[in-house]
């Protein structure tokens, strides 16, 4: 382990982290912090309302107060509470995923471009590091390092929210351990999210490759090239279809080509094609089923997963070639 941490490749990963610490770590911490702050504000608002309404509320609720209510909670209510906890986790996961998508998308667009623009590529290239190692370190940073940090922050935020709610319960004389903590399963959650990082990573490869190629190849404005080309292609394809000429099915084009080139870095975006074909109910009670282990296993059975991965790896190889031979004359 120590030898791995001291290998040159580990230093490449550390460098990526140093450079993008703000996006990888602090953006996630900020997002989780905002949710926690909203939770606290919500509890305070609830307490203030309750104090103002006083007796009225307890009459309406049919219980003397919250303490009574929680104490008398039936098995059904506890079930609802557990669902509520799941929802909290989903909220943290969702916000974290949105942040992760934007951070990783722009990280990849800049990964092989920013140092060419400010000429610091000349410093990196003065060191005995192959261009393959450089590009692969950026891929790993995007699909493993940044998501792992997001998982850690998500779980920390979730545990933080539980602690806040526990304190609230305690303040009302309710023991939170039986209610909250007995039903949370932090370790299985950890494992679940870690396994998901791997599924997300393989699914993300086509977008990773697509963005890195433009990042390594163009003289300026990688964002425009990377985003405008697929969108224009999609519109043209649709237009050709309108004229009644032979074209690619529009839904296929947007979903499997444009979407995969630009949006596969969205965490759990492999759920969409899978769930659509299996009719998973997103709005109903089964939100977590969409990202269950069996759902992940199913994603690996999709041809989109493997074809996308192969195309992604080919694009990454092209990015390495550009990184090696692009001449900034």
């Amino acid at each position: 382990m120590n030898a791995i941490a001291k290998s040159p490749f580990a230093w490449l990963l550390k460098r990526e982290y140093w450079e993008s610490r703000r996006g990888f770590l602090w953006a996630q911490v900020t997002a989780a912090g905002v949710i926690l702050a909203i939770t606290i504000l919500g509890i305070i608002a609830g307490e203030v309302f309750r104090a103002r309404m006083g007796v009225n509320m307890s009459v309406h609720m049919g219980a003397a107060n919250l303490n009574e209510m929680l104490r008398s909670a039936s098995a059904h209510d506890i079930n609802a509470l557990v669902k509520g906890l799941d929802m909290t986790l989903l909220l943290f996961g969702f916000i974290s995923s949105v942040v992760l998508f934007f951070v990783v998308f722009f990280y990849l667009l800049g990964a092989l471009y920013d140092d060419r623009r400010d000429r610091s590529i000349l410093f990196w290239k003065s060191l005995p590091i192959s261009d393959t190692a450089t590009v692969v370190s950026k891929v790993i940073a995007a699909v493993i390092i940044a998501p792992l940090i997001a998982v850690v922050v998500t779980l920390a935020g979730y545990i933080g929210a539980q602690i806040i709610v526990s304190l609230w319960f305690l303040a009302h004389g309710v023991n939170p351990f039986g209610l909250l903590w007995a039903h949370s399963e932090p370790f299985s959650l950890w494992l679940h999210l870690l396994v998901m990082v791997v599924v997300n990573a393989v699914w993300a490869l086509p977008t990773v490759g697509w963005l890195l190629v433009w990042s390594a190849a163009v003289r300026s404005k990688p964002f425009l090239w990377a985003v405008v080309i697929p969108i224009v292609a999609g519109v043209l394809n649709f237009w050709v279809g309108l004229l009644g000429l032979p074209n690619v099915d529009s839904r296929f084009f947007w979903g499997n080509l444009v979407g995969r080139a630009l949006l596969s870095v969205i965490p759990a975006s492999w759920v969409a094609p899978d769930a659509l074909s299996h009719g998973v109910d997103f709005v109903g009670s089964d939100q977590l089923a969409a990202i269950s282990y069996s759902s992940m296993a199913h994603a690996f059975a999709l041809p989109q997963m493997w074809i996308g991965a192969i195309v992604g790896i080919a694009l990454i190889a092209a990015a390495i070639w550009f990184r090696r031979w692009r001449d900034e004359a």
């Binding site: 230093w11 450079e19 610091s120 000349l122 410093f123 990196w124 003065s126 060191l127 192959s130």
Partner: protein, 305 residues
């Protein structure tokens, strides 16, 4: 190109005497861009333990030559650096070659201690203690970011890192451009005192010829993608002579086929000779060794005409 200089270039486009070992060997080195030829069959050798000035006008192919040596660009012809092909063996080559290209190419986000940790982590020939000794002489702080430094401080950091790497070839491409005179002097002084030895080779391109003139051991003049002159400084002193001639002896001076003539004060003229008879020259007037910049101007005459 004027006729004299052209004839001169043809006679003397020979490689300089190499040291004990060849560090860079180039034959018919050629690089074509879409609309221009940057290197047009350049031949040169760089020996170990030399400090070579690669000098030429803008667009002559200096930077392209350096890029080829560093494996940053593809080329035609033959080129080996420390016995390796820079195109195929770049990562291995960079263990023994360092370069500072331009001022301020360090990434702006990096902190001093991060830069040192990183280079220590990836470079097998980096001596961390040495680097820290060099940095201790400067005002740089471990936690300081490059974006908070002046150009001169960035160069100090870069130089401290590079000098702590036990490389065999150091390539400097305009290393002091835009620096004030104090940093420029300090830069070359550090290189000579703390870095250079007989096992190391330094290849420098610069526009400020006067500044490096006294530290160079070899000269490579490059013009239109070809080596116009390759010589050691000792050979240059023996071969070239500058004579300050009175007006009455100007005709006699011209008869000895100078490679350059320019006016001086009090109606005198300065003539520059290549391989002329020293005794004959002594009869014309005061003889001295030409400066690199005067030699450069004479050889490059007509480049921009």
């Amino acid at each position: 190109m004027n006729v004299a200089a052209e004839a001169f270039a043809e006679r003397h486009a020979t490689p300089p005497a190499a040291g004990s070992e060849t560090v860079v060997h180039a034959r018919a080195l050629t690089k074509r861009y879409k609309n221009a030829v940057a290197l047009d069959g350049a031949d040169f050798e760089v020996g170990s333990g030399r400090i070579v000035g690669l000098i030429g006008p803008n667009g002559a192919g200096k930077t392209t030559a350096l890029k080829a040596i560093l494996g940053l660009t593809d080329f035609e012809g033959e080129l080996s650096v420390l016995g390796m092909d820079p195109r195929r063996e770049r990562p291995q080559l960079m263990r023994e070659v360092c370069f500072i290209a331009d001022v301020a190419t360090l990434p702006r986000w990096i902190r001093v201690h991060e830069a040192i940790d990183f280079v220590a982590g990836v470079h097998p020939r980096f001596d961390r203690a040495k680097c820290e000794r060099f940095l201790a002489r400067t005002k740089l702080q471990a936690n300081q970011k490059v974006r908070e430094m002046s150009k001169g401080m960035i160069v100090q950091l870069h130089l401290a890192i590079v000098m702590a790497i036990d490389a065999r070839l150091l390539v400097l491409d305009e290393p002091t451009l835009g620096l004030d005179i104090l940093y420029r002097k300090q830069f070359y002084q550090s290189l000579l005192e703390d870095y250079f030895d007989e096992n190391k080779t330094i290849l420098i391109t610069t526009h400020q010829v006067e500044e490096v003139e006294h530290i160079l051991t070899d000269l490579l003049f490059i013009r239109d993608g070809k080596v116009a002159l390759g010589t050691t400084m000792d050979e240059m002193g023996a071969r070239f002579a500058e004579v300050l001639v009175n007006a009455d002896k100007v005709e006699a001076a011209r008869a000895l086929k100078p490679i350059d003539e320019r006016g001086a004060v009090f109606g005198k003229s300065v003539f520059l000779y290549d391989s002329a008879d020293p005794e004959q020259l002594a009869q014309l007037g005061e003889v001295k060794r030409p400066s690199v910049s005067d030699l450069f101007v004479a050889i490059m005459k007509g480049t921009y005409a």
